[in-house]
Subunit: 445 residues, 2 copies
C-alpha cells in the first residue's frame, strides 16, 4: 500500500535550516507564479503604509509649544484637535484634546481637558474608577481623571487610550454626504450594542452617543469615546441608572438612523415618520429601527438582551468580518517574524567586522581567532561561482545567518582570500566567536 514508511523520519529536523517565509493563510488571489513578486513574501504594502503612518503619528512631537511641559504624570503634549472654533454643544464647556506620554510606562495617551470646570464633589471623580473596569473592544479605554491648574483657571483632565490617526463618525460620513451601505450600518449597530453590553454590565450608563464622540480607528471599526465625562461634568448622585441605560439603547439606534437618513439631527424630531426601505435599505433594518425607537416612546420596556436578539445575524456577520481580519493579520505577521532577529544579528556583525581599531590586533590577523569571522563574512556575502562571478543569493545569506543564530553543529569550510588555506568550523563555534567579539566591544565601550 503506498503509504509512507517510517513516520518519524521527517519529524526530526535541525532548527532553522531556512528562512521561515512560509505563508500561513491560503492565498485567495490565485496568481500564477510569474505574476508574483518577491514582495509577496513581505508585508502587504497598503497595510505597511497604514501602520507606518500610525507610528509616525505616535512619534510626532511638537517643538516650541506654549503647552505645559508636564501635566500630572504626563509630558510631551501635542494638540490633537486642530480646528480653532470650539463647540460647547456636547459638554457645555470648551474641551481640548492632547496626545501625551506617561512618565510611568512611556506609552502615549489621549488627554481631554475641560476648561473652566471646578470639581464640586470628590465622589463624582471616583466614578472614573468604575469606568476603568470596562474592557471592551468597542469602547475607548478610560485610564484616569485629575484636576489641574496648569492652564488658565481650573481644568479637569480625562485620560483615554490613544488611537493614532482615528477620525470620528461625523467626519467620516458627514463631510462628504455619501449614503452609508446597509452592511456598515448593521456593523455599527453591532459594535455600539457590544459597547453598551460591556458598559451596562459594569453598572454604568454611556449617556453620550454623539457622532463626534465615536472614533473610527480602522475601516468600519468604531469605538465609543469620552466615556465617563458626563458622569463627572453633570454629576447627579441620584441618577436613575436603569433609565439612563434604557436611553442608551434608544440613542444608539437614533445615531445609526441619522447615518441612514444622512441627517445627524433626525431624531427625536422625525419620530417614526421614516421609511428606510424607500432609501434602498431592507425592511429588516427599518423594522429594527421602528422597534427600538417606538419602544422609547412606550416607556422603554425592551431589555438589552431583547435588542440583541433582534440584531441576530448582523452581529454574527460582524464577528465573521473580525475573524477574517484576524486571519489576514496573522498571515501578515508571519511574513515578518524572522526579520527583527536578523536585523539585530546583521547589526552585530556590522559592529564587529572591519573595525579600524582591529586592523593591527593580532586576534584578527591571519593566525588569530577572530580571523574566522572575517572569512565567514566572505562565505556569507562574497561567494563567487566557478567562473569568478559574484553570487547574489539572498536565500544563502538568510540560511547562513539563521544557522549562525541557532548555533547548530553543522560545519562550514572557510577559505582564505588567497585560496591557499582552508579552515573548518561549526556554526556553534562561529557563534561563540561572534558573541565574544561583541562582548569585548561592549566591555570597551
Amino acid at each position: 500500500m503506498p503509504e509512507p514508511f517510517g513516520f518519524d523520519s521527517y519529524r526530526h529536523f535541525q532548527p532553522l535550516q531556512y528562512h521561515l517565509y512560509g505563508s500561513l493563510a491560503p492565498s485567495r488571489k490565485g496568481l500564477a507564479p510569474d505574476e508574483r513578486t518577491s514582495h509577496d513574501l513581505f508585508m502587504a504594502d497598503d497595510l505597511r503604509e497604514q501602520l507606518t503612518k500610525k507610528q509616525e503619528a505616535v512619534l510626532q512631537t511638537l517643538q516650541n509649544s506654549n503647552l505645559p511641559t508636564t501635566l500630572h504624570s504626563y509630558h510631551s503634549l501635542v494638540p490633537l484637535d486642530l480646528q480653532l472654533e470650539r463647540s460647547t454643544r456636547v459638554f457645555g464647556y470648551q474641551t481640548y484634546a492632547y496626545k501625551a506620554t506617561s512618565k510611568h510606562d512611556g506609552n502615549k495617551y489621549c488627554l481631554r481637558r475641560v476648561e473652566g470646570f471646578r470639581l464640586q464633589s470628590e465622589a463624582s471623580i471616583t466614578l472614573v474608577q468604575k469606568w476603568r473596569k470596562v474592557r471592551c473592544a468597542s469602547v475607548v479605554e478610560v485610564r484616569e481623571a485629575f484636576t489641574s491648574k496648569a492652564f488658565t483657571g481650573d481644568s479637569i483632565v480625562f485620560v483615554y487610550a490613544y488611537h493614532p490617526l482615528s477620525s470620528t463618525l461625523y467626519e467620516k460620513h458627514f463631510r462628504q454626504r455619501k449614503p452609508c451601505p446597509e452592511t456598515v450600518l448593521w456593523s455599527y449597530l453591532s459594535q455600539l450594542y457590544n459597547a453598551l453590553r460591556a458598559i451596562h454590565a459594569c453598572g454604568l450608563a454611556c449617556r453620550l452617543l454623539d457622532l463626534t464622540k465615536i472614533l473610527v480607528t480602522e475601516k468600519n471599526r468604531i469605538r465609543i469615546n469620552c466615556c465617563g465625562m458626563l458622569d463627572v461634568l453633570q454629576y447627579d448622585p441620584y441618577a436613575d441608572i436603569k433609565y439612563l441605560q434604557a436611553m442608551d439603547l434608544t440613542l444608539a439606534a437614533a445615531l445609526v438612523l441619522g447615518l441612514a437618513l444622512n441627517d445627524p439631527e433626525v431624531w427625536p424630531d422625525a419620530q417614526f415618520n421614516f421609511d428606510l426601505t424607500t432609501r434602498g435599505y431592507s425592511s429588516q433594518l427599518n423594522d429594527f429601527m421602528h422597534l427600538v425607537l417606538e419602544d422609547a416612546d412606550n416607556g422603554c420596556s425592551l431589555s438589552l438582551d431583547a435588542v440583541l436578539g433582534h440584531l441576530g445575524s448582523a452581529s454574527l456577520e460582524s464577528m465573521d468580518a473580525a475573524l477574517s481580519y484576524n486571519d489576514t493579520l496573522e498571515s501578515e505577521l508571519a511574513t515578518a517574524t524572522e526579520n527583527g532577529r536578523l536585523v539585530r544579528l546583521l547589526c552585530k556583525f556590522g559592529f564587529i567586522n572591519e573595525r579600524p581599531e582591529f586592523e593591527h590586533d593580532p586576534a584578527w590577523s591571519e593566525t588569530g581567532d577572530r580571523y574566522l569571522l572575517k572569512l565567514f563574512r566572505d562565505y556569507v556575502f562574497h561567494q563567487v561561482n566557478e567562473r569568478g562571478q559574484p553570487v547574489l543569493d539572498l536565500g544563502h545569506v538568510l540560511a547562513c545567518l539563521n544557522k549562525l543564530d541557532a548555533g547548530i553543529e553543522e560545519r562550514v569550510m572557510l577559505i582564505s582570500r588567497d585560496e591557499t588555506s582552508s579552515i573548518v568550523a561549526s556554526y556553534r563555534e562561529l557563534r561563540q566567536l561572534a558573541e565574544s567579539a561583541f562582548n569585548e566591544l561592549r566591555r570597551r565601550s
Copy 2:
C-alpha cells in the same frame, strides 16, 4: 491663552528620521520603565513561537516517501494524519489527509483522499463548485475535488485550505476530559451558527457536524472541515435541502451539548433528560439547548434567524473577543513593519562592502567613488567616542539606515580612517552610490 502657535510648524517632517518602533496599542501591562526590556519593542515571544512553529509545519517536507510525486496539479505530499487505525465511521470509507503544494500558485493545501470510492455521477462532483462560493471565517475553504487512480484502486480527492498545526474539537476536549467553560461553549455556538449562516445562504447544507471534523486552529477558534464531502459521497439528487438545513441547526446544538456533558454520543439518546445547571452552567445555556433540541422533535419549526436571536449577547461577546485580538495582532505587526526593509538593505551592504574582487579596483581606492561607501559603513557601525571607545548605538545605526533608504538630502561628514581627510556627502548621493555598486555586481553575476 496657552495654545500652540503655528499649527503647521510640526506638520512637515523629513521622512524616516527614526526607526518607527512606536507602539500602537495602549499597553495593558502597566509595567514600570525598569521592568521593561528591549524585547517590548519586538514581537511577543509566545506569538512568535506559535507563528514559527506554524511556518515550520508549512515548510515541512518528507524524504523518501512512497506517495506519488504528483497528484493532479499538486506535488510534495506529506501525510497529515499519523494514526494507523482508520475509522470509517464518518464517511463509510477510509480517508487519508495530506499536505500538498499546488503547482499553480505554490501555496499549501490539505488534500483529503477517500479510498475505494468510484464516482457514479458527474453531477455530484459539480456540487463542489457551489461549496467554493462559501466564504466564511468559520468554514475551512473548499477548493476543488478530483478523481485519481494514482493510489490503489479508485480514489476521490477533496482539496481544502491548509491550516498548519490545527487540532480537532475531539482531540482538544476528549483526550483530557476537562469540563469546558461556559464562555467557550457560547463562543463555539456562535462560530458554528456563523458557519451555518454562510453555508445556508449559498443554498447548501452542512450535513456533517462531527467533533473530529471541526478544526481548532487558534485558541477557541473553530472551523467546520470536510464540507461538501457527504454531498458527493452520499449523493442524492432529490435531497431535501430545507430539511437538511433544519437538521444542521439541531446538530450544532447537539455537538455543543456533547462538549458540555463531556460525552460525544449524548445526543440523540439523552434527548431532553439533561440539566446543564447541575453542572455549573447557566440556565440561559440550558434553555437554549432545550429550545433548539426539542424543536427538532417538533418538526423543526425554528428558523436560523430565530436561533441567532436566542444567541443574542453570546455572538457579540465572540465579536468582542475577535476585535480585541485584532488590536493585539495589529499592534504586534506594527513592531515588525520596518525590519523586512532593513534586512534587505543590510544584506545589500553585505554584498557590496569588502569584496575581495574590489581590493585592487581603483573605484574603491581612496580616490575612487566607492570609497565613500566604505567610509559610510565606518560612520554607521564603527563610531568611537572622544576617548576612542567604541559606540554601540543601535538607534544610530537604524536612523542612518532609514535615512539612507529614504535617500534624503541631509549631509554627513565622512572621515578617513587616518583622520587626515574628510568628505561631505548627502544620503541621496550615498544611496545612488550603493545602488550603482549593487547593480554593477548584479550585472557581473
